[in-house]
């Protein structure tokens, strides 16, 4: 499947911002069953400097500075990505979870892709004893790592309520867990904490999900959203699992970046020199080839906090 992706983020400031220094992580990842055919980002006002850098995990970040006073900051990324992944294995297949764990700990691999980096607590995913205890029920003796992770995903999908108003981008994991509610970011963080608590490496994956427009209606412009899910190390491969949708990852998921948690892959972060309030608007389109984007430009955009 080939997708055209449009991800536009607009910040409006109450008072002029004199200087901004940001990292943009908007270019989809090559590999993992994806080929990026093109990717371009348009920034307004145009930056004084822009340097692309790959971080330790290979995530490409575009470091930009803007040094003209501005009250609106607009970033639009447009990419074309071909996605073709094999069918996910059967849910209970694969190596036993405790063997996977012991092999990771004994490993001498510290390379960028090494699972060991994803075994420990990270900025946004602390180890929470209650979450570990919750996850434990999925980790029966002799079960495969992939099987345990699938079961955990399924339980999260069942026990947690999707509610965009329950949490925001800064809600701590323990709080979202106590609420048993949240958005894809919370679902992913909870699942990662559970997997790591039991000793399995788990990564946070940011990207997009293909959605079907309402039956009989055209796709609304800007109505899609950025998405997040989990990759779990199964001893021989990373496998994608989407706890928000209780779904193994295949061709409907488009990966932008894989990191330890949201803070490694945040699409835009940085520092602005200004004192006023800011308003944020995000529009995302995920358009499969063969389907035209049309519809109402004034349609209400999803305001996902990022």
């Amino acid at each position: 499947m080939i997708y055209t992706l449009r991800h536009r983020t607009t910040y409006r400031y109450g008072r002029p911002v004199r200087f901004a220094s940001c990292s943009l992580r908007l270019r989809p990842r090559d590999g993992d069953g994806q080929v990026v055919q093109s990717s371009a980002v348009t920034i307004t006002p145009s930056p004084a400097s822009a340097v692309a850098r790959r971080d330790y995990f290979g995530i490409e970040a575009l470091g930009i500075t803007v040094d003209v006073p501005h009250t609106e900051f607009d970033v639009e990324a447009v990419s074309r990505v071909e996605v073709s992944r094999p069918e996910p294995p059967a849910p209970e297949s694969g190596l036993p979870w405790d063997e996977v764990r012991d092999a990771v700990v004994a490993s001498r691999d510290l390379g960028a892709d090494a699972p060991i980096h994803f075994l420990f607590p990270s900025t946004r995913v602390p180890l929470v004893p209650e979450v570990t205890d919750y996850a434990r029920a999925s980790f029966v003796a002799g079960r495969s790592a992939y099987g345990a992770a699938n079961d955990l995903m399924h339980r999260i999908r069942t026990d947690f309520r999707f509610d965009a108003r329950a949490t925001n981008v800064h809600t701590p994991l323990a709080e979202a867990f106590a609420l048993k509610a949240g958005v894809c970011q919370d679902f992913a963080h909870v699942m990662i904490a559970g997997l790591r608590g039991m000793g399995l490496p788990a990564a946070y994956v940011s990207g997009y999900l293909r959605t079907a427009p309402p039956p009989g209606q055209p796709r609304l412009r800007g109505a899609d959203a950025s998405h997040a899910w989990v990759a779990v190390w199964c001893g021989d491969a990373w496998r994608g699992l989407d706890p928000t949708n209780d779904l193994a990852v295949r061709d409907d998921h488009i990966i932008v970046a894989r990191g330890r948690d949201y803070s490694d892959v945040a699409p835009i972060d940085g520092i602005v020199a200004g004192s006023g309030r800011q308003k944020l608007k995000v529009e995302v389109d995920v358009i499969p080839d063969g389907e035209e984007a049309c519809g109402e430009p004034e349609a209400p955009a999803l305001a996902l906090a990022e």
Binding site: S21, R108, A114, I116, G199, S263, I271, G274, S275
Partner: protein
């Protein structure tokens, strides 16, 4: 101090020694620095105690008092984390003494360890052979919060990760030194060691000289050269990046900056421009070539490390990558503080150095290793369980489970070992060893054994690793306390390394003759800001005190008949109103003595003289590296003078006495800044602050006491507030009248108290300060000052009615803002927490 060596008193000396040490016996199972297990004294201790024994007890007490006095005067203090107050520095008066031979062996062990840490860092952030070869588990690196991935692949400028290494050490059960914790991130304590040395060497100069104690200067000189090593420019500017005035070790950092001649900076004093690090100074941005960071690496760069940090400099890692900045220590060095490293150091030493570890730590087992886990599980009763990856915090303070754990804790721990065993290490920790410490009881002094931890330092210098001859020693005040962190109940001790050769008694010297230089570098914007507000607050305190004095005097003054005994006459009423408007009194209707006490010493009112002095001191505290010891002492005296027990009532004359003494202290302070502050830039800002504040206050005075209907008595108060009665009396014989008074206190450019005089002085200061523009066009604050000066030169007394005065006051406030915008502006978030907008 009395001359020492009453050698005829040998009997007295022996008697004192016997009394001090009677009942001294090492704690069971713990090595003691002074007594061996068989009860015989060790090493140099008999020499030290014999020498001290020659001092009579009153003499000894007198020296203790003088040490405490020095600590207070020098402002040596510390903060407990989360506590607003500073605490007096708890220096014990008995040093830890170590003999030359023992020290040499210890130093060799430290140097070996430091070099090993350097090699580990170079490998982990570089080729990764240790992990690939199985000498260091990948999990210990990946699991450490101090493994900073953005630094991977960095070629550290100057070729080294570590410029400073420290270790907390104690004696093991066999009496040998062992390392309880490694410090490779941003070790603190050298400044405290320096301060301890200054106090103790002053308190016991005779003993110090006789015992031939190793001196510090050569080490610090070498350390400073090490900080600069590898810098791009030949004459590098070295900055100490502090964690800020509210950090527990700020005083220490400031002391080091002063002693080593480094620029003390906070994160928002620094800025990246064109890939290089710069300091914001009053002369614009200036290169920073070397940085000694005292903040944890995570906070260093919000762009690449912790985005929530407000302490760091966005983008500063770039300067490390392009080689334009050298740093002590390179971010990520904290990796070597990991608790589990101890289990692998011996093997790594053999691998990398081909040597055995000379200075080891407690036996350690990592639970991520199946054999280690088995050992720990089988020996839980004898081991302490600690986190594997996070920095070890010393003698068991971060323990999760100790040998004496409760059954419930044990259960929890066993569970923890089940899910993620690799997060833990088991260690065989012994109780801390002890050293003698003074205890004062009713019957006098005696010595008791107290647990201690010694922090020792090694610096990488152009001639290799050098160990600081001494250290920072913390001593518990009870025998069961864990003295790894400074808290109340912990004393510190100087550490005397005794030389077996004559000691090098040179002061901090340059190895090269420095180039003669009169401009002492560029003043950082923050320092200028602090100096400016120091001046303003001191002046503001003076204005409040003058009002109180005027009020109290007028009541007692036989000549001021119309308000004598009547504290509610119109002039007295105006004084009270002004004090209330200034926030110095909570209500104008208070009884005179209570109102005066509140205005002078009130803690609850934000505008009392005491509150202003404390604000001045707070600003001065950020400038500890710029203010002379005398000025600091006067400030301490002032605070003491203005600290009256609010529960006690004072008479008016007592309060008047206090207030007048406070005024003399304030003029001493102003004299000190006239005489002692370097004229290059610092003095300009103190004086600017003082002049602006005085001009604004005088406007307020004039509005209240030299208004159009002011009577002679009110004008008399005006003259008193401006300290201008004598000038007036010499000039006019006819008694007080409105226009002459106004002329004298507002317009007369020869009266150092007049507003015109302040304006001329301000304009002169501004003209002498550096300009940012090369085009010769005056900067805005200079134009504003010029306009104010011109207005005074071209006005006459009658122009200054209430409207004219108020307009002038507004102009002066604008000038103050304009000075701030030009010289002190930092990031938009750099709002200062304790700054008030102005009086009234």
């Amino acid at each position: 101090m009395t001359p020492l060596g009453d050698l005829g008193d040998a009997a007295g000396c022996a008697e004192r020694l016997a009394r001090w040490t009677a009942g001294y016996s090492p704690l069971p199972g713990r090595p003691d620095a002074y007594l061996a297990p068989d009860g015989s004294p060790r090493g140099a201790w008999p020499r030290l105690l014999d020498r001290l024994g020659r001092l009579s007890e009153p003499e000894m007490m007198a020296r203790f008092v003088s040490a405490e006095r020095h600590i207070r005067d020098a402002g040596i203090s510390f903060r407990v984390y989360g506590d607003q107050r500073e605490h007096a520095w708890p220096l014990g008066s008995l040093p830890l003494v170590i003999e030359a031979d023992e020290w040499r062996a210890l130093s060799a062990g430290l140097v070996q360890r430091a070099e090993l840490m350097e090699m580990i860092l170079a490998d982990v952030y570089g080729p990764g052979d240790l992990v690939a070869g199985g000498f260091l588990p990948a999990a210990l690196v990946a699991g450490s919060p101090e493994f900073l991935r953005p630094l991977h692949g960095l070629q550290p400028p100057g070729g080294r990760f570590l410029k400073l290494y420290a270790a907390d050490i104690g004696r093991g059960p066999d009496g040998r030194w062992q390392v309880l914790a490694d410090r490779t991130q941003a070790p603190s304590g050298m400044g405290w060691a320096l301060e301890n040395r200054m106090v103790l060497a002053r308190t016991f100069p005779d003993v110090f000289d006789e015992l031939r104690v190793e001196r510090f200067p050569a080490f610090f000189q070498a350390f400073r050269e090490g900080l600069a090593a590898g810098a791009e420019r030949a004459d590098p500017r070295i900055c100490l990046l502090t964690s800020g005035p509210y950090s527990s070790t700020y005083v220490e950092q400031a002391a080091l900056a002063r002693y080593l001649g480094l620029l003390l900076v906070e994160g928002d004093d620094l800025v990246m421009q064109d890939g290089r690090l710069h300091v914001r100074t009053v002369s614009g941005l200036k290169r920073a070539d070397a940085l000694w960071r005292r903040i944890d690496a995570d906070y260093l760069d919000p762009l690449e490390l912790n985005p929530a940090s407000r302490l760091g400099v966005p983008g500063v890692l770039e300067a490390l990558r392009n080689g334009s900045l050298v740093m002590c220590n390179i971010p990520g060095s904290g990796l070597c503080e990991s608790g589990a490293l101890g289990a692998y150091l011996p093997g790594i030493a053999r691998r990398l150095l081909g040597e055995d570890l000379k200075l080891g730590g407690p036996p350690t087992w990592w639970c991520g290793d199946p054999d280690g886990l088995a050992h720990v599980r089988d020996n839980l009763d004898a081991l302490t369980l600690r986190p594997a990856a996070t920095p070890q915090r010393g003698a068991g303070r971060d323990a999760i489970l100790g040998p004496q754990a409760l059954a419930a804790d044990r259960e929890r721990t066993v569970a923890a070992l089940r899910d993620r065993p690799f997060d833990y290490v088991g260690q065989e920790l012994d109780p801390l060893s002890t050293m003698p410490s003074w205890e004062r009881t009713g019957s006098g002094l005696h010595l008791v054994p107290r647990p201690f931890v010694l922090r020792v330092f090694a610096a990488h210098t152009p001639s290799g690793w050098q160990v600081m001859p001494g250290g920072f020693c913390r001593v518990a005040e009870r025998d069961n306390l864990d003295p790894t962190e400074l808290r109340l109940g912990i004393r510190s001790a100087d550490v005397w390394v005794l030389s077996d050769k004559p000691v090098d008694s040179t002061r901090l010297v340059q190895t090269r003759t420095p180039r003669v230089r009169r401009i002492p570098g560029h003043l950082p914007a923050r320092a200028a800001d602090g100096l400016f507000w120091f001046g303003r607050y001191a002046e503001r305190a003076e204005a409040v005190i003058r009002l109180v004095v005027a009020h109290l005097r007028s009541i007692g003054d036989a000549l001021a008949t119309d308000i004598r005994g009547n504290p509610h006459g119109p002039t007295a009423e105006r004084i009270r109103t002004l004090l209330t408007e200034w926030g110095a009194a909570s209500a104008a209707g208070l009884p005179t003595a209570i109102l005066a006490q509140e205005a002078l010493t009130g803690r609850e009112v934000r505008g009392s003289a005491r509150a202003h002095i404390e604000s001045a001191r707070r600003n001065a505290a950020m400038l500890r590296n710029r203010l002379s010891g005398e000025a600091w002492r006067v400030l301490a005296d002032l605070v003491e003078l203005l600290s009256l027990d609010p529960g006690r009532a004072f008479t008016e004359s007592q309060l008047l006495g206090r207030a007048e003494r406070a005024l003399s202290h304030l003029s001493a302070l102003s004299g000190l800044s006239q005489e002692n502050l370097n004229r290059a830039a610092g003095w300009h800002f103190v004086d600017l602050g003082r002049r602006i504040e005085r001009a604004i206050n005088t406007c307020d005075f004039a509005l209240a006491f030299a208004h159009d209907e002011a009577n002679p008595e009110s004008l008399g108060v005006m003259l008193a507030l401006c300290d201008s009665q004598i000038s007036y009396g010499a000039r006019y014989l006819e008694g007080v009248a409105l226009d002459p008074v106004r002329d004298l206190v507002l317009l007369d450019p020869y009266n150092p108290r007049s507003i015109a005089f302040q304006a001329e002085a301000i304009a002169r200061h501004l003209a002498e300060l550096p300009s940012l523009s090369a085009d010769g066009v005056p900067e805005p604050q200079c134009r504003l000052a010029a306009r104010i000066v011109a207005e005074f030169r071209s006005s006459e007394a009658a122009d200054f009615d209430a409207v004219g005065m108020a307009r002038m006051e507004a102009e002066l406030e604008r000038l103050a803002d304009s000075i701030g915008a030009r010289y002190f502006a930092r990031g938009p978030e750099a709002m200062r927490p304790h700054k008030l907008a102005g009086l009234g």
